[in-house]
Amino acid sequence: MTDETETTAIPAPEGPANIIDTDYQIGQHNIQPRIGPFDLDIHNPVFLISGLTIVAFVILTLAFQDSVGPLFEALRDWLTATFDAFFLLAANVFVLLCLALIVTPLGRVRIGGRDATPDFTYSAWFAMLFAAGMGIGLMFYGVAEPISHFDSSLGGVVMENSARTDWAPLGGAAGDATEARRLAMAATIFHWSLHPWAIYAIVALALAIFSFNKGLPLTMRSIFYPIFGERIWGWVGHVIDCLAVFATLFGLATSLGFGAQQADAGLHFLFGVPVNDTTMILLILGITAVALGSVVAGLDAGVRRLSEINMVLAAALLLFVILAGPTLAILTGFFRNMAGYLEYLPALANPFGRDDNNFREGWTAFYWAWWISWSPFVGMFIARVSRGRTVREFIVCVLLIPSAVSVLWMTAFGGTAVGQIVNDGYQAVSDAPLELKLFAMLDALPLASISSFIGIVLVIVFFVTSSDSGSLVIDTITAGGKIDAPVPQRVFWATFEGLVAIALLLGGGLTALQAMAVSTGFPFTLVLLLACYAIVKGLMDEPR
């Protein structure tokens, strides 16, 4: 008997790691039913419960739209208004913990064991985490958000019945265009840099440590092992996993529905394509079809390659805006905005004693709930592709570099748009509806038809990369953490997501269910706070 396994097939020994000793075997609760010609391998009961709950919610929303919509929206508004300080405080904890992990010896722990080697190159890894993380949001809000904050800041504080009714961040900057611009960029960057990426980093790091170092399945429940112990294999774990599937699928499906509306508006603006249900359904079907191709091709040939294409296109568009736009202003603006962000950061992140209620609850707390509701999906995907990195490397690459890219992106797109309004008196970008602001900004630059076309392609490809990585994540959770479950299951989830999006688009209810998805941000904030404890405890047990 000879053993060839140590030669070339498995590239590196894993080195010492502190495996959790549990009797649970991954896939233990799985069942292997045969549906038609397809063999499946699914977790019982997470697959069934999450699938049926999603169908039930869609049917209920379609049937009782008038009452369900306002109910979910009221729930979301109540949560973000009542617990705004809690959201802000929690997000600060995540950022501080991440920064602490960089400088403490815990940062030396390597994900996957002391001698593990990274699965993906830096460029592929970075492309995937960016495409899954926030690509699509940057496309839409890169121009829209700075303009919105600029307008409200310039308007200054408006009082009515001794309460503020304006949406300006902090105290605004009434009548002072230069300061309003600085504040607007700082507030936008605040929502798109350290805090959101810290939220993703916490979930991703917790999952990665408990899966790749501790040997638990790659599902949300594993994070809770230090708290619930063996009970995570029972109903506690089922509920956590179902909630993660629920938040991910509704987050993806509603974004896909809204994205189709926005892409349709963009196509109408550029090529006069009619804005109607047929075009939007065709867009959803097209995006779903490409996503299906990508999930069937797998992580290497599909998701990774698409993310890399995406990255190249995004970099090309960014470079174009920098070169075709006010180049010098953007380059100096990068440092100015970074400084402005750091200066305003303590005030913007402060949860107590502020009177900018609309901004704090309607923007910041809403964003935090939104990022947190996406965190199971993005976090799990980042975890899956991050094995072999040290904790320090991981945090630098998941927190600091994307934050710097966000600052550059916002400066190039938002800064250029605000400059067009302030310096050139170009009002079209201010007047355009949200989904067209990007195109209105590009319209004022040279070669608008080409750059706008790249913009619309990017929007669509970003949706595809979210959809395929989301399907991979949902499939893994509903297969009890197995990542080699039969491919038809991925196809099922990607298709299901497209169908839910179409049903909500035609029947109404996109807003309602998106509000529902954002509301899951509240329970997940508690999950994330517990994850912070689990990370520190988990890392302290690891060999460094």
């Binding site: 008997m1 097939a9 790659l218 094995r387 197995k482 990542i483």
Partner: protein, 137 residues
């Protein structure tokens, strides 16, 4: 006639590949050649181990047990894939050359309508391998 037999195994579903294991062992005894058991795993913890190393150990133990039980010479090879659900055939095809095998004995399910969309792993390996492949139903 042959130098080495490669038998892909799914350690989590050993019950489903008994016939292929028997057939492969019979051929090995007949031609007096070694068998190499090949399995594909991912980096994530799975039913057969917390990490690729444990998986490789489980596979090696399986190979040793087969050698003792059947009186044949065996080797094992665990292969790493980022996405085993999709990359399986590609990794198996690569393993044929890496292990120096010139006969593959492989279990496969009875074809059904789904095979028109997703051909079976065995079918794909047989279509693309440049050595003899014996598919055992």
């Amino acid at each position: 006639m042959y130098r080495k037999i490669m038998i892909p195994v799914d350690l989590a579903h050993k019950d489903k590949i008994g016939k292929a294991l028997d057939t492969g062992a019979d051929l090995a005894l007949h031609y007096k050649i070694p068998v190499c058991y090949v399995a594909v795993t991912s980096n994530a913890p799975g039913p057969m181990g917390h990490n690729p190393r444990e998986f490789a150990q489980a596979l090696a133990a399986f190979g040793e047990a087969e050698a003792a039980r059947r009186g044949i010479e065996t080797t094992t090879r665990a292969i790493l894939s980022h996405d085993p659900a999709v990359d399986l055939e590609k990794k198996l095809l690569g393993a044929i050359g890496e292990t120096g095998s010139d006969l593959v004995v492989m279990a496969s399910h009875i074809p059904n309508v789904a095979d028109h969309i997703w051909p079976s792993n065995g079918g794909r390996v047989a279509s693309h391998a440049d050595v003899s492949v014996l598919i055992v139903r």
